[in-house]
């Protein structure tokens, strides 16, 4: 370190300044979460009962985003759709997080045969055309939303494992890991207390990417008629169904589409921001 520029390490990090984009993203995500939890208690408009008298009407006082091809309230369905928009991607992202943290860190730390086997498995998974396979499986099993979630959860882990394994491999060669080994700290502690904590920013950013990817993939499957059952308020499904009234009430298709984009972008932005903050919190070393 002699001769280098010693950046101020002695002082507490100055008070956190949150960028506007992050505030906006957080507010949006919060709104989605509130909608998923408390939606049914404050929206009493039915989300399923067709109303042939007002099919494809433009937004009004009664219907904030107008109605769809069956005369159902788009806003109510949008709020009801938050549940599927959150749960599936959350399950997929959490499973990716957990599996990569367990397997990826172990493969990176131990190396050798465990690493070789894991990485060949990952290579195999990468060779599979994930979305195509998902379409085939979901079609064949005639499964709905949950089968789609399961298939995507499995087909999502390989990227996470590869990423985390690489990061763990890098940490493994650092002196602090050797120091821990010499002082007799157990492998388990080294892997899951030291290494995992040091690559947490990567895990978090990866979690966000997974979530956004899964959201879009699930919506895509639903759009193709795979996944969510017809009739359920699901954003991807609403996108398809709303098309029929595109000229009467464009919001029937636009609103769920925009919601998907906003949620995916918000989650990604926050993941990115968390990564940069945590990575710079230790002085970039």
């Amino acid at each position: 370190m002699i001769g280098g520029l010693a950046l101020p390490v002695g002082r507490r990090t100055s008070r956190l300044r949150v960028p506007v984009t992050i505030v906006v993203s957080s507010v949006f995500i919060l709104a989605v979460v509130v909608g998923a939890i408390a939606g049914p208690t404050f929206i009493h408009t039915s989300t399923s009962a067709p109303n042939p008298l007002s099919v494809g009407t433009m937004p009004s006082h009664a219907h904030l985003f107008g109605t769809d091809e069956l005369g159902r309230d788009v806003f109510a369905r949008l709020v009801a759709g938050t549940t599927t928009a959150l749960t599936g991607p959350l399950i997929i992202a959490i499973s990716g997080f957990a599996v990569s943290a367990l397997v990826g860190v172990a493969a990176g730390y131990f190396g050798g045969a465990l690493d070789a086997v894991t990485m060949r498995f990952v290579d195999f998974m990468f060779a599979l055309p994930a979305l195509l396979l998902a379409i085939v499986i979901v079609t064949v099993v005639q499964g709905g939303y949950w089968i789609a979630v399961l298939v995507l959860a499995v087909l999502n882990v390989q990227g996470d494992i590869r990423l985390v394994r690489g990061a763990a491999l890098e940490q493994r060669n650092l002196v602090y890991v050797e120091a821990a080994r010499v002082t007799g700290i157990s492998r388990f502690s080294i892997m899951y207390r030291h290494i995992a904590r040091n690559i947490l920013p990567i895990l978090l950013a990866d979690f966000a990417t997974d979530f956004a990817g899964a959201l879009v993939a699930l919506a895509g499957l639903a759009f193709l008629g795979l996944g969510a059952e017809p009739g359920t308020p699901d954003w991807g499904l609403m996108l398809t169904e709303g098309q029929t009234v595109l000229f009467e009430n464009p919001f029937a298709a636009l609103a769920p589409g925009i919601a998907i984009v906003l949620l995916a972008v918000s989650v990604n932005l926050i993941g990115d921001w968390l990564y940069e903050r945590r990575a710079s919190a230790i002085g970039g070393r």
Binding site: M1, G4, V9, V175, E178, G184, I282
Partner: protein, 627 residues
């Protein structure tokens, strides 16, 4: 050697009537991050480099010396801004147009950086690095002529093998790379070369060669040279004048020999005496308490007041100006006229030699290594023999030095001893325990303190928790944990307020103390110290060395002290083993080895210490084992 073509048109007549080559006045450098507090790096520095003059800028990390170099070449990072004036041959650089500045860099001012491993583009051949920098006129020559010119330029920096122009940087050793980098920096025939720690990353013997090369090229070309270093001895060996920089201000400037003879600022004195002498053992080592402050924290007072033994109220009431105290000498100490005699006396007292250590009985050795070999197999290549039959002993409560340069195998030995590598053959016995025995038992008797305290601690774990975890892994009762952690921190001289800090909020010396506390948590009998102070600032180095000595006396520890620094070894070690190409070539008591070395390699190591009398040791092959 080619006549440097820039000389004729570039330099004005040698009469000293014109403006100096470089004149820096009131240079301020401020770091203004987009979000975060503004921070002063340099607070008004004045300096001057005459034509063909060599000056040294000496300072510890955080003094702002590297930023000073960058400011001169207008290469400051974004968010870092310079104010004041930097005049090169009378032309203001700070306000110069960007294009003009680009042209001036290279032909006028060039920087040579510290790290030869990252300074060269790994995809360019060495010759191309040089050709790229040749002055515009010569650059449009035929390929053949350019190559010949590159060969000539390499010869100027002492590389006689013309094939080097075609090799890639990774094929060369650190010293060779630094030479190529120097040749590339000199390619455009600069009038001023700023060398930022050019020898720090190199081995001792290579370091001496590179410094000698810098000195001779500077003389031959008659260019100005600014040498930036943390090491006063390096500055003295090359420079005519030295500026002592501390926390963003110049505290003293003087001709090198004068400063060596009589420092006129308490900080210069501190720097001089805390750099351990090679020729005698001083115990305890004189040191400067505390660590370098941030320039912004010491405004309106003497920067050094908080660590100065002579500080009085007058020092803390205003920032002292740099005033002339003698012919060509300036000091920023307001009390210098009062304390001048005291400084002189202090220096004599502090450096009094202490008696040599008493010999230790080796029948009861803590560490016994016999005929240790380690061969690294390379896939598809010839195996490397890192250790070729090493035998050594460390007695109980003895401190033993293992000296050698990089590639000599000393770190491999250390790693074998703590179980991070498995030796190919030979035996290691630690406290009667054969190594190869279960690792769990091994680490209770032997511990290691690593070289770089910046990477040996988990950056996300508070230092208290780090020591606590080690205690728990070694069977400390839950109820006693807090008590023991506090004890260990006290043992290494850290207050308990440090417990909850992350490593990034500690200075290098403090981190090394934590690393020592962590090693002590295991209650080992032997601690292997792998270059434990080489990454630390001079003033902090002495603190840590004293801590090692003190702990040894108090806890009855034994040390195996691995280092390349003979001055350090002199202070803390009873016996020395000299390691060269995987073998022990010489061993004996410190005084015997350092004062009357028998092996040529030992003699060369001693001669390489800056400031040591140059001896005509015959050249030896590099300490690396050829593959």
């Amino acid at each position: 050697m080619p006549p440097p073509s820039g000389l004729e048109e570039g330099l004005p007549s040698p009469s000293r009537s014109g403006p100096p080559l470089l004149e820096v006045t009131g240079l301020e450098i401020v770091h203004r991050p987009k979000n975060g507090a503004q921070r002063t790096i340099l607070a008004g520095v004045d300096l001057e480099v005459g034509l063909g003059e060599t000056i040294g800028i000496v300072g510890e990390s955080g003094s702002g010396k590297s930023m000073l170099a960058k400011a001169v070449a207008r290469l400051l990072p974004r968010e870092v801004h310079a104010g004041g004036s930097v005049r090169f041959r009378g032309t203001e650089l700070l306000t110069m147009r960007k294009r003009q500045m680009d042209a001036l860099r290279g032909s006028g001012v060039t920087i040579l950086y510290q790290d030869p491993f990252t300074m060269l583009n790994p995809l360019l051949r060495c010759g191309d690095h040089i050709i790229e920098g040749l002055p515009g006129g010569t650059r449009r020559g035929r390929r053949r002529a350019l190559r010949d010119e590159a060969v000539r330029r390499l010869a100027e920096v002492g590389i006689d093998n013309p094939d080097v122009v075609n090799s890639y940087p990774f094929e060369l050793s650190g010293g060779m790379r630094q030479r190529v980098a120097l040749a590339a920096a000199l390619a455009s025939d600069p009038a001023l070369l700023v060398a930022d720690e050019p020898s720090t990353a190199l081995d001792v013997t290579t370091q001496a060669e590179v410094l000698e090369l810098l000195r001779s090229t500077q003389v031959a070309r008659g260019m100005g040279l600014v040498l930036i270093t943390h090491d006063l001895r390096v500055a003295f060996s090359v420079c005519a004048r030295v500026y002592v920089l501390y926390a963003g201000s110049v505290l003293e400037s003087a001709p090198a020999n004068e400063l060596d003879r009589e420092p006129l600022h308490p900080y210069s004195l501190g720097l001089l005496v805390s750099d351990p002498p090679v020729d005698r053992r001083v115990s305890p080592l004189p040191m400067i308490e505390g660590s370098v402050p941030s320039p912004g924290d010491v405004t309106n007072q003497c920067n050094f007041a908080a660590r100065c033994a002579w500080a009085e109220d007058v020092c803390r009431s205003a920032a002292p100006p740099l005033v002339t105290v003698g012919p060509a000498r300036k000091s920023a100490c307001v009390r210098i006229s009062e304390i001048r005699p005291a400084l002189g006396r202090a220096r004599a007292e502090l450096l009094q030699a202490s008696p040599p250590p008493a010999p230790v009985d080796l029948t009861d050795a803590v560490l016994r290594v016999r005929d240790l070999r380690k061969v690294f197999a390379h896939r598809g290549g010839r195996p490397t023999e890192a250790l070729r039959g090493v035998s050594l002993d460390v007695g109980r409560n003895e401190s033993v030095g293992l000296v050698g340069e990089s590639g000599s195998g000393k770190t491999t030995l250390a790693r074998c001893l703590v179980g991070l590598e498995t030796p190919t053959s030979g035996t290691i016995e630690i406290a009667g325990l054969e190594v190869g025995a279960p690792a769990a038992k091994l680490h209770k008797t032997v511990q290691i303190v690593f070289q770089d305290p910046y990477s040996s601690l988990d950056p996300r774990q508070t230092v208290g928790s780090s020591v606590r975890e080690t205690l728990r892994a070694n069977g400390c009762a839950r109820g006693r944990l807090d008590e023991r952690v506090a004890e260990l921190f006290a043992e290494v001289g850290l207050s308990s307020s440090y417990l909850r800090r992350l490593p990034a909020r500690l200075s290098g010396g403090e981190r090394q103390r934590v690393a020592i506390a962590r090693a002590l948590a295991v209650e080992p009998e032997l601690i292997i110290c792998d270059e434990p102070v080489s990454a630390l600032d001079v003033s902090v180095q002495a603190q840590v060395l004293n801590l090692f000595t003190e702990l040894r006396e108090r806890l009855g520890l034994s040390y195996l002290f691995i280092t390349h620094d003979l001055a350090v070894v002199r202070q803390v070690v009873d016996r020395i083993y000299v390691c060269y190409r995987g073998e022990i070539v010489e061993h004996g008591t410190v005084d015997k080895i350092l004062d009357a070395p028998e092996h040529a390699y030992t003699a060369r190591l001693i001669a390489s210490i800056p400031g040591a009398t140059a001896s005509s040791a015959r050249p030896l092959p590099a300490p690396m084992i050829p593959r």
